[in-house]
């Protein structure tokens, strides 16, 4: 076995880092490892929330693959993540660019733009969305101006999905804040040098801003992917997973199995599948996007 060489600054023990993360190490055992182990075990039983549980091994995992609810929810979840994540990153980056210019009153605008994210799935948002997207709602009236016939937003699963995506797009706040934080750390000199070289704004964006934002794009990509895969609240509030389960995400399925249907064992097993899917997706991002960055430093 090859001995690992710890690369640390001179005079720093290999235990310094461990000491720094000591609180986390303790917490990880209590608050991550312990629930994980119990959830993994529960996933191999038929526990219903009360009474005795029987050990069923991998049966839940086999059932899952045969369960059309599961396969459909998995499809919905992946589709949702694929649509939402790129859109959300783009929109929040654009808004962050807009909000990063220092003009008078910008603070008020930044706050205003964050408010949707504070509201979350507040009743007001749910009712607002109804007024916007119901058959006689504002969106359809607006489309009607251009001769588009009324769209069945709530009643057609494709459009219902789009509607949920739009809600989450509108709540771009936290992604935008992270972009904003990073945008201002890009040295002004870079842009000045570019201007001297006769480089236009758009070119400067692609040749300076984007590369400099590399690591926050990565953060946001990872975080939004995780959030999209675990999506629960938006379809729960807006469509209850319908119509015809077209917006029934894995997050909803887990919640319903766990708390509504007292199918705790199964819910835990599904969670592990979701866990594996997210781990695979994020792992892929680390491999594809991060390696180059690691070498650079």
């Amino acid at each position: 076995m090859k001995k690992h060489i710890y690369r640390n600054p001179v005079g720093v023990s290999k235990y310094t880092g461990l000491l720094l993360i000591l609180p986390f190490a303790v917490g990880a055992v209590l608050f991550i490892l312990y629930p994980f182990v119990s959830s993994f075990i529960l996933g191999m039983t038929d526990y219903s929330g009360v009474g005795e549980a029987e050990f069923t091994g991998l049966r839940s995992y086999r059932d899952m693959l045969a369960d059309s609810d599961f396969t459909q929810a998995a499809g919905v979840t992946v589709r949702y993540a694929l649509i939402l994540v790129p859109l959300k990153l783009t929109v929040s980056l654009l808004v962050a660019l807009l909000l990063s210019c220092e003009i008078r009153g910008m603070g008020t605008f930044r706050t205003a733009f964050y408010i949707p994210s504070i509201l979350g799935a507040n009743l007001a948002v749910v009712i607002m969305w109804q007024y916007l997207f119901k058959s006689s709602g504002l969106v359809n009236q607006f489309l009607g101006v251009f001769g588009v016939s009324p769209v069945s937003w709530y009643g057609d699963s494709r459009f219902a999905m789009l509607m949920i995506v739009l809600l989450r797009l509108w709540e771009f706040g936290s992604t935008m804040v992270i972009f904003l934080t990073a945008l201002n750390s890009i040295p002004r000199e870079y842009y000045e040098a570019a201007r001297v070289d006769g480089c236009g704004r758009v070119r400067a964006f692609f040749s300076i801003t984007l590369p400099q934002l590399r690591s926050v794009i990565f953060i946001n990509l990872v975080m939004q992917t995780i959030a999209a895969f675990q999506e629960f609240n938006a379809p729960f509030m807006l469509t209850d997973g319908g119509p015809l389960r077209g917006t029934y995400t894995l997050g909803m399925l887990i919640y319903q199995e766990m708390f509504r249907y007292s199918n705790v064992g199964y819910a835990n097993a599904v969670s592990w599948m979701l866990f594996a899917a997210i781990a695979a997706a994020v792992g892929l991002m680390f491999v594809l996007l991060r390696r180059k960055g690691e070498d650079e430093r």
């Binding site: 807009l98 750390s185 990872v222 995780i226 766990m258």
Partner: protein, 275 residues
Amino acid sequence: MKKLPVYAVLTVTALLMLYPLLWLIGASFKENREIYSSMWFMPSRFDLSVYRSAWRTGTGFTMGHYFLNTFRVIVPKTIFAAVSSVLTAYGFARFDFPLKKLFFGLLMGGMFMPAIVTVMPMYLLWSRLGLLDTYIPLTLPSLFACEGMFVFILIQFFKGVPREFDEAARIDGCGTLRTLVYVLVPCIRPAIISVAVFTFLWTMNDFLTPLIMINSTEKYTLSLALRISVDSTGQGYEERKVIAMSVIGLIPSIAVFALAQKKFVSGITAGGLTG
């Protein structure tokens, strides 16, 4: 004059963003029937007494009481989360140590698991420790940097600071902690502030964990108190009172964001990369 189009775009978009809030405030003066049947925010009449009854709630405790409860959770939690996340992220970003890969895996893994899965095991743990119906289950985990997301964000920001900074500090005689406090923290202050703000905002909205862990109405946090009158299985309720309560409940979040937003974009270029 050149800025006029920017202002125009910003104002129009901001109105779109703000309309639901505006409507929410208007709705706090409306009868149920008006709430459900009109998208126009302006109520047909203003009657401020709804805010008086919202503040009193129907529970024997005022909203002030629930605000205090919430702050008793949120203040320690935010401080805990910021400090422990910074230390942990520093350890991961700057040092190599035994079991690093394992712990980093746990950190990421903790984010991948849907949170509701951990609710029951944690409930049983706290119940065996006899700590249910206290604020410890709500605050203590933050002391251990268990919000993987925050640590993850901070690690990335730490990595954005050139290592030469640390080395220079070490040459000047700074130890591990002093390097962190005097050199690195100032560089990534906006990120730390955003983590603290996120902790604050997300804790304000968190519902399921306090619901499960807290039993006594006296100890309810704001997010629980806001739904205490909502009984969708029952005879129905006065929506405007619930809405008025939620409008009051939004004030701290909006205020905290408004106060913090300047910090997201300030200071870094001076102390940071170009320095």
